[in-house]
């Protein structure tokens, strides 16, 4: 009974997006065949799947490479973002001083940064991880810093008066209180992480979905580009869902709104 109930609620939260995605694909397919859009411009989903399947072994290998890169980069990026947020939160002087540099870090175009990174850090995995980190850390850092400063005043007063150390205030009040907002940032970062990996692969790689895309682009294989995009989107969704589940589990104390 209970299991069935769980099953039902799981299904209930899964079918709307599923239907929406299917509807989206159907509309796409319909538009392509109805409007006679040429496949080199916008291939039909059916064609994409078909051609993608034909290259599945190759795609699989590249996907695996991208997954590894994404996970590593996302982990490092989120950790960096949290760390920066925490350090800057605890030392407000640093925060006001370094915020401009954080924004600066988000505004160095990859075409200028890419060669520099490769020249300095070689052709290995390091410059790629740096690119993903650069993409992921920022939303986490901004959201976390905002969340950490918005602590409930009454609880804060209690903590201070009862002699909680700075550390305890942070661990027991500010951090849990900011979790919902931190997770906003992590969700944004998770969504960007895969794209970050793709961009990282563009600045120099010999494997991964990003590399694959560039090759297909130069071979004018729009269908395979879209197969790659399909994989990218799927990976992003997976990342997002994992974060969502983690959030549900960590912020489970919050009463459900209706």
């Amino acid at each position: 009974m209970n299991l069935k109930g769980k099953h039902a609620s799981w299904w209930k939260s899964v079918w709307p997006p599923l239907v929406a995605v299917l509807f989206f694909l159907a509309a796409w397919q319909g538009a392509v065949s109805y409007l006679h859009i040429e496949s080199w411009l916008l291939p039909a989903p059916s064609l994409i799947v078909q051609e993608g399947m034909a290259q599945s072994a190759l795609l699989g290998a590249h996907t695996w490479a991208t997954i590894r890169l994404t996970l590593a980069g996302f982990a490092i990026g989120t950790a960096t973002g949290l760390l920066i947020a925490i350090v800057l939160h605890i030392i407000p002087f640093l925060k006001s001083a370094l915020y401009p540099l954080l924004i600066l870090s988000q505004n160095i175009p990859i075409i200028a940064l890419g060669p520099l990174l490769m020249v300095w850090f070689g052709f290995g995995v390091l410059p790629k991880l740096m690119v993903i980190t650069l993409v992921c850390f920022f939303p986490v850092a901004v959201a976390a810093m905002d969340g950490l400063t918005r602590t409930d005043r009454v609880m804060m007063n209690y903590m201070r008066m009862s002699g909680a150390s700075r550390r305890a205030i942070f661990m027991k009040l500010e951090l849990p209180h900011s979790l919902p907002q931190v997770f906003s940032g992590i969700k944004i970062a998770a969504t960007y992480s895969v794209m970050g990996a793709i961009i990282a692969e563009w600045i120099g790689a010999s494997e991964g979905i990003g590399y694959y895309m560039l090759l297909q682009k130069s071979a004018y294989r729009t269908d395979l580009i879209f197969a790659a995009i399909g994989i990218i989107v799927t990976l992003s969704l997976l990342m997002f869902v994992i974060i969502l589940l983690l959030e549900k589990w960590l912020v489970r104390w919050k009463p459900d709104q209706e």
Binding site: D152, Y158, S162, G163, S165, K172, W253
Partner: protein, 317 residues
Amino acid sequence: MSLHPTDLTSPHMADEQQRAGEAQVLTSTPPALELDGISLAFREKRSSLPVLQEVSLTVKPGEFVSLIGPSGSGKSTLFHIIGGLLQPQQGRIRMHGRDITGERGHISYMPQQPALFPWRTTLDNILLGQENAPRKDAAASSRSVSERERRKEALQWLEQVGLGKFAKAYPHTLSGGMQQRAAFLRALLSPQELMLLDEPFSALDALTRADMQQWLLQMWEKNRRSVLFITHSIEEALLLSDRIYVLSARPASVVHVVDVPFPRPRREEITLDPRFVEWKRTMTGWMREEKYKLDDNINNAEGVHKNTSDGGVNHYE
């Protein structure tokens, strides 16, 4: 009822004598808490709101002292100052003779709003005070007990205040009075010797309240922690306290000090004692008097009258 300032028929003792007595005590053991001429005004953009005006008070070790005063007079603010949250613009705070003005962590505190942490269960919430306390206090109260033992003990306390069933519940599922009891326990279980309790029982029904009072009394009589207690109930203050400070309306200053003459241990029956009833009437009268002054103030536009000075405090026993 027609209590008037002139109705003051209760016995009172000369200030001087009392002062001398206090001084003697001071030389032997310094008071657990001593406020010395605390003043504070909140500053807004243009205006300034004087809230505390030369408030001095003393809590001797193991003494139970109550603060009573009109709503909005500045009682909670005084607690914030003692707790080191706010810096007084004038005056010093001493604890056992040591100046602790602006220092934090020297008190067990129960705030006026429960301020339970929504992500902690009731049990974890009431353990928070112990977790927060600076190490030395924790050590002083021989808190080298294990985490598990502490939880077990906390659970027993919860059961005593009728929350045993809710140890694992989150605060938002507790009723107002239940939250207040949890916040009270949190302060009670904090290891610091001096407890500041800000209207701990206001959201409780008369009986639960009486239970809690009795229970607090018994515990206090056993352990003799120093307590500073804000309440709106004159009866409660008389029942529990060794001494009561009556504050004026904002800006608050001490207008009366009462050394409660009833012997310990006290039980609820004392409230039927004619002397008790008499005291209650007297103090109600004082409050009323303050109230009138306040109303006058308001009517005389917003001008702030400084109508009591330190020397104007009346001291009774």
